[in-house]
Symmetry: C2
Subunit: 226 residues, 2 copies
């Protein structure tokens, strides 16, 4: 033992666990909890199956660990929002951050999607607890924006769901999107174009006018607001 720390792990163990988590995320995201097998995960990580269980204990604890990691990654979003915030800036940032997160963690996003599809057996507490509170608090602020005339009076919960679904679509349905577009993956330009489109439609659709965006033409012209 090199350090007195009890909680900290050795560097080699960390590296090993990271490679297992990476492989497991790929397999779970494609086939869900029941459809994934430890043997396939082990093969993809280049390790014997018993080694996976040595580090992770069980299939379930490995899966739960991946879920928790993904939930943590999403927590950075829409944190600093107040009744005094500018809706245009906040929602634009929300949309773009979500798009970036989806591109940064495609497997994690799909993992989450598969968990929800299965009926959220491991996430039901989180959804009805933490996440519900998160939505409720943001919705309350958006309602104040509407009352202040900063935007149309729309149900903020539907707005949040709209942004979630529209952005996640491009990671979780990447097979469909790339099949239709005839590309293997989305390019940087595609992502920029999509983000611009979503910002334009959603902000305008919610009646959010912004001086910084007023001069911005729709989509087909290349200009950045200043």
């Amino acid at each position: 033992m090199t350090a007195v720390s009890v909680t900290h792990e050795s560097p080699s163990r960390e590296r090993m666990e990271a490679s297992i988590l990476r492989a497991a995320e790929e397999v779970f995201s494609q086939h869900g909890y029941r459809g994934a097998s430890l043997q396939v995960i082990a093969d993809r990580a280049g390790l014997p199956k018993a080694n996976i269980l040595y580090y992770m204990g069980s299939k379930q604890s490995l899966y739960v660990r991946l879920l928790n990691r993904m939930m943590r990654r999403w927590n950075e979003v829409l944190e600093d929002i107040t009744p005094d915030s500018d809706p245009a800036a906040v929602l634009s940032d929300f949309i773009r951050t979500k798009m970036v997160l989806g591109q940064r963690y495609p497997e994690g996003s799909k993992l989450f999607a598969a968990e929800i599809l299965a009926g959220a057996p491991f996430l039901s507490d989180y959804l009805a607890g933490e996440l519900r509170d998160w939505v409720a608090s943001r919705a309350a602020i958006m309602r104040q924006w509407s009352a202040q005339g900063k935007m149309d009076t729309v149900d903020p919960r539907w707005l949040i769901f709209l942004i979630w679904s529209a952005t996640q679509h491009y990671t979780e349905y990447s097979a469909q999107v790339s099949g239709i577009l005839g590309r293997d993956a989305l390019s940087e330009d595609d992502l920029e174009s999509i983000s611009d489109f979503l910002e334009h439609v959603i902000l305008k659709g919610c009646g959010i006018t912004t001086p910084t965006l007023a001069s911005k033409p729709n989509i087909d012209v290349h200009r950045i607001e200043k």
Copy 2:
């Protein structure tokens, strides 16, 4: 043999197959192709496992049959669209029809979602063929709408994806939605409210003004942008 027909099946066989398909759709939609087991499907249908294979041949042919059935159900959508159509009417109908279809076939929608998540192993040909053409033809018409000044110049492909994702979200993520809203399922009023919201935001966001909708209030405010 009662009838001369070769293609037609006996009523009892049809009833049996229908009950198998119903049970299989539930299981496949929750756990995906690999995660589903014939034993579970058989139990849910109240039949011995061998009976499933007698009627369906194999797990794969049962799965493919469900996929094809779901693709057929979706074909009714956005069929009658021309450059002369009214974008407001067409897109409003598109949004509402998609919402209704999602509610009518929730398991089928989830089945499709799981297939895409897995990388669309059984649907890649369909996506890159039929569906791509479908999108391309609709997109071409929408571009004409833009050229005619009927709507903003946006990429119609992103618009189609937006409507797909926003509507499908409420069936495929029903576990998340109901967890957050604290309900077991969405009510009729919820669905009406969501449809109104999506129509409002998307049409307005695309710069589509409509006389037929002018009398319709947005959620609560009586004013439509001019």
